[in-house]
């Protein structure tokens, strides 16, 4: 196995707010890997710059979108495709929402292992983006045992 494979390239993707906070709490999951973050606001770079544990990362932004804005959704998809092409991740992980879906789709197309961690805020049902991503995921997690049981998602704990 080459050294490249021993330090996998991880693309960690989320939209803003709670999704970003949850993604940050997952950091030990890729300790030792080479991480690239993709988030929806450049302001979040300050969180990384002020964290002494975040010494070596790449940072990209995309503009968030949802299903009601078709054009923005297309722009998001295109930008995400370019980011995935540039990073060539071995692993894509996301807590949601639309940006994560596109990253997982394109990552999978290019052979990455893909992980969805549905937000802890989704205690009643899996998110729309989770359901869209499901068949493209190697690991599809809920943070709620009862939801995992209902949906067939895996459960391994929560971000909080």
């Amino acid at each position: 196995m080459s050294e490249q494979n021993e330090r996998p390239k991880v693309l960690a993707v989320s939209s803003g707010g709670g999704h970003w906070s949850e993604l940050r709490r997952l950091r030990p999951s890729w300790e030792g890997a080479r991480v690239s973050y993709v988030v929806t606001d450049v302001a979040y770079k300050a969180d990384l710059d002020s964290d002494p544990a975040e010494t070596d990362y790449r940072f990209f932004t995309v503009r968030d979108a949802n299903a009601t804005h078709r054009i923005r959704l297309l722009q998001l998809a295109l930008k995400m495709f370019l980011v995935v092409l540039r990073v060539r991740p071995d692993v894509v992980i996301s807590t949601g929402a639309a940006p994560g879906y596109f990253a997982i789709r394109f990552g999978k197309m290019l052979g990455a292992r893909t992980i969805w961690v549905d937000s802890i805020a989704n205690a009643e049902e899996m998110s729309v983006s989770a359901n869209l991503s499901r068949k493209h995921c190697d690991l599809w997690l809920s943070q709620w045992p009862h939801l995992a049981k209902e949906t067939g998602a895996e459960y391994a704990g929560a971000v909080m």
Binding site: S29, I93, I120, A158
Partner: protein
């Protein structure tokens, strides 16, 4: 200051009324309430400052400044309280009383209840005593963890570092 918040999706009269009743007998404590869009039929507090919603920056500031947050047992409330390090007293909505579609807030409350700085009551009749108890204590130092549960990050690592 106590900050009461029930989210913006549905009113939660049973909780708002119980805190308003408490506020009536404690005029020395400021209580600010975010109660959602309460219709004419719903309960409008008389002993605390209330509004339907507030901008997120102001909401965050309220959560930070409060001695105690009182809330419905929504994930967002717990996450916010734990993020800013303010103790929270929460009551789950009951589906049978039409306070939500179902009883999922019971599961949410059960998940969070053993954490530092998180307190749960299940009945509005327990609210006043719970507030008194929490205010009588020294302000809690909420122990915050920075990271997800280890079982979760271990599971994810098994895929991130899978030998292919």
């Amino acid at each position: 200051m106590i900050f009461l918040t029930v989210g913006t999706q549905l009113p939660f009269d049973r909780l708002v009324r119980s805190v308003d009743d408490w506020a009536a007998t404690h005029p020395d404590m400021t209580v600010v309430a975010q109660i959602g869009a309460v219709g004419t039929e719903g309960y409008h507090p008389k002993h605390m400052e209330s509004r339907a919603s507030m901008p997120s920056a102001e909401y965050d500031q309220m959560c930070r400044d409060a001695r105690l947050i009182i809330a419905h047992a929504g994930t967002g409330s717990f996450i916010k309280a734990q993020t800013v390090g303010t103790p929270i007293l929460a009551m789950p909505r009951k589906g049978a009383l039409g306070e939500h579609r179902n009883d999922h807030q019971m599961a949410t409350a059960a998940h969070f209840k053993n954490r530092s700085g998180i307190h749960i009551v299940h009945e509005d009749t327990e609210m006043a005593a719970a507030i008194d108890t929490l205010l009588a204590q020294k302000p809690e130092r909420v122990e915050l963890s920075l990271f997800a549960e280890e079982s979760l990050t271990t599971k994810i690592r098994s895929v991130v570092f899978a030998k292919g």
